[in-house]
Structure formats: structure tokens, C-alpha cells
């Protein structure tokens, strides 16, 4: 029992479930950022702890605290918030952590190895730059920054820094997404011909405000000085999986954005429709409304042979559903695995119903979410992401592609906002193209 407690069983099991084997190359093509987290690598950090400071302890910060408390290789050393009620609540969860109200003071502490930044968007870039300059390994919530200029400056600084930098792109650590994307890359749904992403809620996106001077501080999501709205808060995740599926970045975007229902003084759109265009002509549509939740949240990858619904972890064939055992066999061969497949049995009668039953990405129970929470869903990869970050804090090993993926999807969000504001097509700006991006 004691030995087991010293490594993170959650992360270890997650990597195992993905079929990673020691020294194996399986899955690295789809998820290069996971190559540092093999079970062997986890054993190497046994007994060591990442000393973590949290910058801002609002709802998302507290969500991370709950995950950190279950991670054996993490220790919460410090908490920082300039809003007393939030600092107090967090401190009750980790009473031994030192309390700060100014994050610069926290960064001066030599006892802290890494920081987790969960602040409004406009603080991301300044705090990440300060944290890296202070020699701290850094985790920051998505999106990368409020402006394109800031994104570039974070990216350039990261390139010259020897510190680890992570962003809260949890789908990269969500087993359901990883398996589905591997299946897409293996060709199961054929060539991708289109992508539809949507995120619908029926909620004003507000938090209660104890007194009116706190409105812009607490409801920062609603104001342009601190937020880029639905794109950077929600679309960023979906544009990231769109690019992950395509292995490409869109060249341009058109779109319309309006405040149609929640006319309460907010400055960001409550209705967003964007169309991103890849060079091949494949388009990703993104729709978000926050006054109707009927459609929930989904990313549909449309192939000429089938459709993958990533959030539900289900897929459908256009015409034919091959035997499940055969699909497993093909999947194994693609991953260079040799295992037994459940094929032999009494003959089955093919399904002829017009509406196919879904095929499932994961065997057994699949955790899905409606996308309605403003804080974050359980088991959506955030726990593994934070655990991986803490491991990287110990080893100092940078993760492949995470910063680049966040850069790309944030840039696309900001391009979308520009397209909606100026009502014209926006091309990916030349001056912001980084070598990682493939169009």
C-alpha cells in the first residue's frame, strides 16, 4: 500500500489504458506530450514532491486544489489571491500553505518549484512571463492570452526558457479523446470532410456579486478588458481538437457575433457563429449560444466513411458497421500490439435498422459531460494534466507540443473575434506564424 501511494495511480493507470508499454512507441504519433509519463518515468520520481504555489484560488483554482490533494508527488506550499473570501476558502482546504495577496511576492519564494495560474484571461500573459522570469515551472489555464501580441511574447519567452510551461488543454489528457483521435488518424472514418463544433448553455454566465464595485472583478468573463468571450473560454478546446484531428491549422476564419439575449451591459457576444477554413477546403464550424442548451456540447468529426462524436465517445459508419472484433484487431495492428480479439462465436445477424446504434470509443463506462459547468467537469483529463505537470516540475522535462497547441487554438479564437468584430474574413497573420503550425 505504501509503495503504491508514492506514485500517482491515476496517471499510471491512464497511461496503461492507452497501451503505453515501457520503451514502446505506441501512440506517440498522436500524443507526443505523453511520452514522458510512462510508468517507468513515474517510478523514477517516487518519493519526490513538486512544491506548488497557486496563483488565484477562485473556482478553477479550488478545482485544481482538489486534484492536487490526491496527487502523491505534489505538495501545496503557497496560495495567492487578492480576493479575501477566495483565499480563505482555499486556505481551509490546505491550512499549511502560506498565504499571499500579491503574486509577485509568491514568485520570490525559493520554496516553490512550480505555480498554477487560474486567473482571468488578461492576467495570463503578464503572470506567465513573470513566473518564468522568476524561474518557476508554470501551469496556466487556457487560453494563452488576451491578445495575439501577448501570445507571441509568451511563446518566444518559452522558447528561450529552461522552465516547464503547461496550459490547461485538458482534452490532450482525456483518454476518450486520445483514443478517438487515434482511431481518426488510423482512418476509421475515412478522409475528414468537415468538422462541426458547438457549445450551448442556458445561463447568463454570471456569478453573484456581493457589491457593485466587484462586478468587473468577479464577472471578468463579460468584459473586453479582461476577456475575449466565448471563443477563448470555450471554443479554444474545440478548435484544439479540430486541429488535432486534422493535423493542420486553418488558414482563415469568417463569422458573426452578437449580443442577442443577455443584454445586461456585458461586452462579449452571447451568440457566436464561426467558420474556419483549412487549406484543403475542409471547414470547421463553431457555434455557441448561452440562452439555449438543447444541443449541449459536441465535436463532430465528419469523414467520408463515418462520423466521430468526440465528446460522447461514439462513432458511426456511413453505411457499414464492421464487426467490433475486427475493428479492435485493426486498431491493435495500427498500434503494433498483439493481443487476442473476441471474434469467434455463433454467427450474428447484421443490423439493418436505418439508424445505426453507436459504436463506442471506450469499452465499458464512458464519462461524458454536458459542458454546462463553468468550473470544469470530473474526469475530463484535468486531473491527469495537473499530475503530469507536477511530474514535469520534478524532472524539469518540457512537454512536447502543449504550448504550441495552446498557441494555435488561442490565435484562432482571437482571429475569430476579429472576424466577428470587423465582419470580414481574417487570414492567419503572417507575423504570428510559428514553425510548429502546418496549414
Amino acid at each position: 500500500m505504501k509503495e503504491e501511494k508514492q506514485v500517482d495511480l491515476g496517471l499510471r493507470q491512464f497511461i496503461k489504458n492507452l497501451g503505453y508499454i515501457a520503451g514502446g512507441t505506441a501512440m506517440l504519433g498522436t500524443t507526443p506530450w505523453l511520452q514522458s509519463f510512462t510508468t517507468d518515468a513515474l517510478k523514477e520520481i517516487k518519493g519526490e514532491k513538486a512544491r506548488i504555489g497557486l496563483i488565484r484560488t477562485g473556482s478553477r483554482g479550488v478545482y485544481h486544489i482538489h486534484n492536487l490533494l490526491t496527487i502523491p508527488h505534489a505538495e501545496i506550499i503557497a496560495l495567492c489571491d487578492d480576493y479575501e473570501p477566495n483565499l480563505k476558502a482555499a486556505s481551509e482546504l490546505c491550512p499549511n500553505a502560506k498565504k499571499y495577496t500579491d503574486y509577485r511576492k509568491l514568485l520570490e519564494s525559493n520554496e516553490i518549484d512550480g505555480v498554477i495560474i487560474s486567473t482571468p484571461l488578461h492576467w495570463h500573459a503578464p503572470m506567465v512571463l513573470d513566473a518564468l522570469a522568476a524561474g518557476k515551472h508554470t501551469f496556466c489555464e487556457k487560453s494563452m492570452a488576451l491578445t495575439m501580441q501577448e501570445c507571441k511574447s509568451v511563446y518566444d519567452t518559452y522558447l528561450t526558457s529552461d522552465k516547464v510551461l503547461y496550459f490547461g488543454m485538458q482534452r490532450l489528457f482525456d483518454e476518450k479523446y486520445i483514443k478517438a483521435i487515434q482511431m481518426i488518424h488510423s482512418g476509421i472514418i475515412g478522409d475528414i470532410v468537415g468538422i462541426r463544433c458547438h457549445w450551448f448553455r442556458n445561463h447568463d454566465w454570471r456569478r453573484p456579486v456581493p457589491s457593485s464595485e466587484l462586478e468587473r472583478k468577479i464577472n471578468w468573463r463579460l468584459y473586453r478588458e479582461s476577456s475575449a468571450g466565448l471563443t477563448t473560454e470555450l471554443a479554444t478546446h474545440q478548435l484544439e481538437v479540430s486541429n488535432w484531428s486534422m493535423k493542420k491549422i486553418p488558414e482563415s476564419v469568417v463569422g458573426l457575433g452578437d449580443i442577442t439575449f443577455w443584454k445586461d451591459g456585458r461586452e462579449v457576444y452571447d451568440s457566436v457563429s464561426l467558420t474556419y477554413r483549412y487549406r484543403s477546403g475542409v471547414k470547421t464550424t463553431y457555434e455557441s449560444l448561452i440562452a439555449n442548451r438543447f444541443n449541449g456540447m459536441e465535436e463532430q468529426i465528419l469523414g467520408h466513411k463515418g462520423t466521430m462524436e468526440l465528446a460522447k465517445g461514439e462513432y458511426f459508419f456511413e453505411e457499414v458497421a464492421p464487426a467490433p472484433g475486427i475493428l479492435q484487431l485493426i486498431h491493435d495492428i495500427e498500434l503494433k500490439l498483439f493481443s487476442a480479439v473476441p471474434i469467434a462465436g455463433p454467427s450474428w445477424i447484421p443490423e439493418t435498422a436505418k439508424r445505426q446504434k453507436p459504436n463506442y470509443v471506450m469499452n465499458g463506462f464512458t464519462h461524458t459531460t454536458s459542458g454546462s459547468s463553468m468550473i470544469g467537469a470530473d474526469k475530463d483529463g484535468s486531473d491527469h494534466l495537473i499530475s503530469a505537470f507536477c511530474q514535469a516540475v520534478i524532472t524539469g522535462e518540457k512537454a512536447k507540443n502543449i504550448v504550441e497547441e495552446c498557441y494555435a487554438s488561442t490565435m484562432l479564437c482571437l482571429m475569430g473575434n476579429q472576424a466577428m468584430a470587423e465582419q470580414r474574413k481574417i487570414d492567419f497573420p503572417q507575423e504570428y506564424i510559428i514553425p510548429y503550425l502546418k496549414f
Binding site: 488510423s186 482512418g187 476509421i188 475515412g190 466513411k305 459508419f317 456511413e318 453505411e319 457499414v320 458497421a321 464492421p322 464487426a323 472484433g325 475486427i326 484487431l329 485493426i330 491493435d332 495492428i333 495500427e334 503494433k336 500490439l337 498483439f338 493481443s339 487476442a340 480479439v341 473476441p342 471474434i343 469467434a344 462465436g345 455463433p346 454467427s347 450474428w348 445477424i349 447484421p350 439493418t352
Partner: protein, 279 residues
Amino acid sequence: MRRHAPFKMKPVYSHYYENSCLFHGSILNIMGTGFDIIFIGKSKSDATKIWDQISSLLELLHARLNRFDESSEIAFVNLNAHKQAIKTSDYLWEILSDNQQYFEQTNGIFDITLGNFSQIELNETEKTVFFRSGNTKIDLGGYAKGYAIEKIKKILINNNIRDAFVDFGNSSVLAMGKHPHGDSWKLIIKNPFDQNIILNEEELSNKNISTSGNMLTHTMHIKNTRTGKFNDERKMVTVISDNAIEAEVISTSLMIAQPDEVDSIIQRFDIDKYKIYYL
């Protein structure tokens, strides 16, 4: 003159996996079940040509061996052979004479007329078939998949394919060569009444495995040709053999055979291994 049935497009799916040089072809509904094949080591264009041969062959056999297809020779024989001896084509002659042998070798259990094989008269010199009784009907349902697999095996060998896996509705499987990352093909056999229970695991190379049995959703589809009653036992039989047809014949027969006649039946066939599961 017999008219041709209109060509009906069946849902066909195929995909070439470049990284593994793996071709996957699938037909949703053929001979009453689904068909899947994967084979390895061919270029995309060669693989596509081979798949064209295989899928056309299956379409052809589906029509030829289907007694419900009015244009099939089988339907014609079923309709007319009790009136006069019917001259058969070469392939139907081969099927009928083989089945006469299987009928005898299985003590009359494997019977493509489901109980009336003794009413069939085959004239070897004329290659004709005559039914002594009017209610005799040939149904190749329990034979066709094994027959098709043997034909497909020939196509694969002629195209120098060594490693391939053919799954005909799970019940008839050909495992040729080996898995690209193993030295055989490994199969799990599950309890059809409870998919959580694994009954056995088999490693196959250049072998066929045939499975007969009842399922929760699909019982009473195997007729006891001696009693005329459908089998409703919670029982399943798997048979491994070099020959797909013999595997089919034995797996079906052992669902019906009395325990004391199993050994004598088996000895008349080229069978590697069989297993009877009482579930």
C-alpha cells in the same frame, strides 16, 4: 429463360491503412451475415484490385447459393427437380456430390435439405439431380460460408498474400499466416449468453475456426435433421481445421450428434481440434 435479378448495391466499406500496409474490406449483409477481411503487405492499388475480386466473388456466390433468389440455379432446382432430373452446372454438381459425402460421413446429421437428403438422387454420368419427394428443398445456408472462404483462400494465395484474416459473421473465420506483430492470430471465445465470460483463447495460423451455437437473441436456428426439431440447448461448438467447409460441417453436426457418435464422426474428417461447451 431465367431472368437476371436487378443488381442490388450492398453496403460495402473498405479502407487502406498506409502505416500498416493493411487493407480492410467489409460487406454489411451478405449470405445472411456480415463479412470482413483484412490482409497485409500489399500496395493500396494491388489491395484494391484483390478486394474487387473477392467482393465480386461474394456477390456472385450470394446470388448463386441463395435459394430465395429466384434467379439462382438452386431456386430452379428446388422448384423443378421433383418433376424431372435436372442437369446441373459444374459448380452445383460439385456442391451436391460433396454434400452427399458429408451427409454420409456425419451419420446423416449434416443435411442441406434439413431432413430429406435420402430423397435426393444424383446421377454421376449425367450430372443430374432428382428429388424423389416434392417437399424436398436444398438450403445451403449452413454450407455457403465455408465454401466461400475456401474460394477466397484461393484468391489470396494466387495473389501471394501470406497474412490475412477473414471473418464471416464470427462463426466462420480463416486465420492465414500471422498477425503482423505476433506469430499467429489470437482469438477470444466468449460465452454467447454472457459476453463478460471468456471461455477460451485460441492461437491460429493457417487454420479455420468454425463456431455453431445458440445465442440469447438468436436461438432455434439449428435444426436437428433427424428429429425435425430445432435445437434449443445452451450449447456451443468450436472446430479448428485446415478446411473451412469441414470446420462448418463438423461444428454444425456436433450440435446435434449423440455423445457416443462424436468420435467416429470426427475420425472421418481432417479436424485439428474441437470443443463442445455446455453453457
